[in-house]
Amino acid sequence: MKEQKTYHDGPDAGNHLDENGLAVYAEYLRHQRDDLPDELRIHVENCGHCRAEIMALTDLLDDIPESRVTNHESRVTNHASRILRLIASLAAVVLLAWIIQLFRDKHPESAPTIVSTPQDTQVVMDTTLDIFVYAQAFIPDPDLESLVSATFREAGNPLPEGPSNDRIFHPGDTLRITWSPEPGQSHSFTILDNQGFPRTAWEKLGDSPFSLIIDLTPGLYYWKFTGEKVLWKVGRFTVRETEDERLETKRPRDQETRDKRP
């Protein structure tokens, strides 16, 4: 079938859809928009390459978790709710100003000046970002979770035993793995973070047991015990910072905040 080259938007245009075009079509297929420009529809109808690209892209987008600022971004911009929010915000500011004024009139000498400084706002924003980044490290990985609850084949299984799946470690604690060694078999042990990325790995383990000192940042982790080509067991554990570390990281920020205040 003859390929129509009608969509021209961006440097890649002329042959196939560029990133913007692919993104618009993917949003249309994922019901994130109702409208689809005609030139896009016609191009894709006649272009097998772009059809394959869009399909692969929508599959990939399904794997990406929804954004965090809002989970339900409306398809059509809701102007009315925006205006309402703006009015509500203005009303809140006016009310706050009136209360402060009232308070100052009643206590003219002792009234403290409550002023929100840009530094305060920055500190709040930084803290929110810190909490977000911190929380991200504890989100379970669905693939690895399914392996944690899976039953592995019994034949030749060295039956590795590790910490329980709800075990909480602190830096400096010892993690211990035991198994039944079989002659001629070599085993590996890997620690993965909550996104499935290997953090540390040990090849050709010696005799059981194997111990290691936890030196990981707080988060959810998984461990894998494998043979040469076989996965024998997957477990999960959590690392939390000690109370001392928590205070250590908190103290300078608090101190900094106090220093910044007038």
Partner: protein
């Protein structure tokens, strides 16, 4: 603030912070492509680093090319995917995914149902990509799967024959149930001739459907392959979801 407004604000004012916030998305994309078999999984951290380096380098160009017609998150995901594919091509590493060997304890019917739902949605998307041909492909697949045909499905064609003819066509198509595939296609061609603006012979319809279905199977399976669909398994998928709907 909505996510898109937040992203665009960062794109203009603090692109590096935006990149920092997009780290989980970058990692998910790299991981997803690695699991599809584009690269060995052990290379994932290196690739994340390389993609980040390139994104920092190309941020001004990325900002310039974004046309604000879609969400920034979608656009940026396409950019990240393209960068990854660029890296894969450079390395010429195309390997089969190495599946971890494990056995599930027992079949989970809820998981199965969710999986069927997700796959049916993928099939819908694949068919939607064919634009004008979408209603005819759906109708053909549903007839081949012995699924019931609803009048509204016949109303989506370019040439709407009106309620009386629609009713008549549904009766004809219902007659195709339990028949052989060749006979079904012959009945379908008769129906499509009355619904379609293009005048096609049964043979032309069979050729058209064969080429379309081959591509739909390729789209569903992906490249590198993530599934192993055939026409029969696609029909089972339609049949299963149809049964689920009827039972519900």
């Amino acid at each position: 603030m909505l996510q898109n407004e937040h992203d665009i604000k960062l794109l203009r004012e603090n692109p590096r912070k935006l990149l920092l916030e997009y780290q989980p998305v970058i990692r998910v994309i790299v991981k997803s492509l690695a699991y599809q078999g584009y690269l060995p999984r052990r290379d994932m951290p290196d690739l994340v680093q390389e993609v980040n380096r390139k994104l920092v380098e190309r941020l001004p160009r990325i900002c310039e090319r974004y046309n604000y017609k879609c969400r920034f998150r979608t656009y940026f995901s396409v950019v990240i995917r393209n960068l990854c594919l660029e890296e894969f091509r450079k390395a010429r590493v195309i390997t089969e995914p190495q599946p971890d060997i494990f056995e599930q304890t027992e079949p989970d019917s809820i998981t199965d149902r969710l999986l069927f739902g997700e796959e049916l949605e993928r099939l819908r998307r694949a068919i939607r990509l064919f634009g004008r041909d979408e209603p005819a492909i759906w109708l053909t697949l549903r007839v081949l799967a012995d699924a019931s045909i609803r009048p509204e499905e016949l109303g989506r064609f370019e040439k709407d024959p009106g309620p009386a003819v629609r009713k008549q066509l549904i009766r004809i198509l219902d007659g195709a149930r339990r028949k052989k595939r060749k006979e079904k296609l012959a009945i379908l061609s008769e129906a499509l001739a009355r619904l379609d603006t293009r005048n096609r012979t049964p043979d032309a319809i069979r050729k058209w459907f064969t080429s379309r279905i081959e591509e739909i199977i390729r789209l569903m399976n992906g490249n590198p392959p993530r599934s192993a669909y055939t026409l029969d398994t696609l029909l089972i998928l339609i049949e299963k979801t149809e049964n689920e709907k009827n039972n519900a």
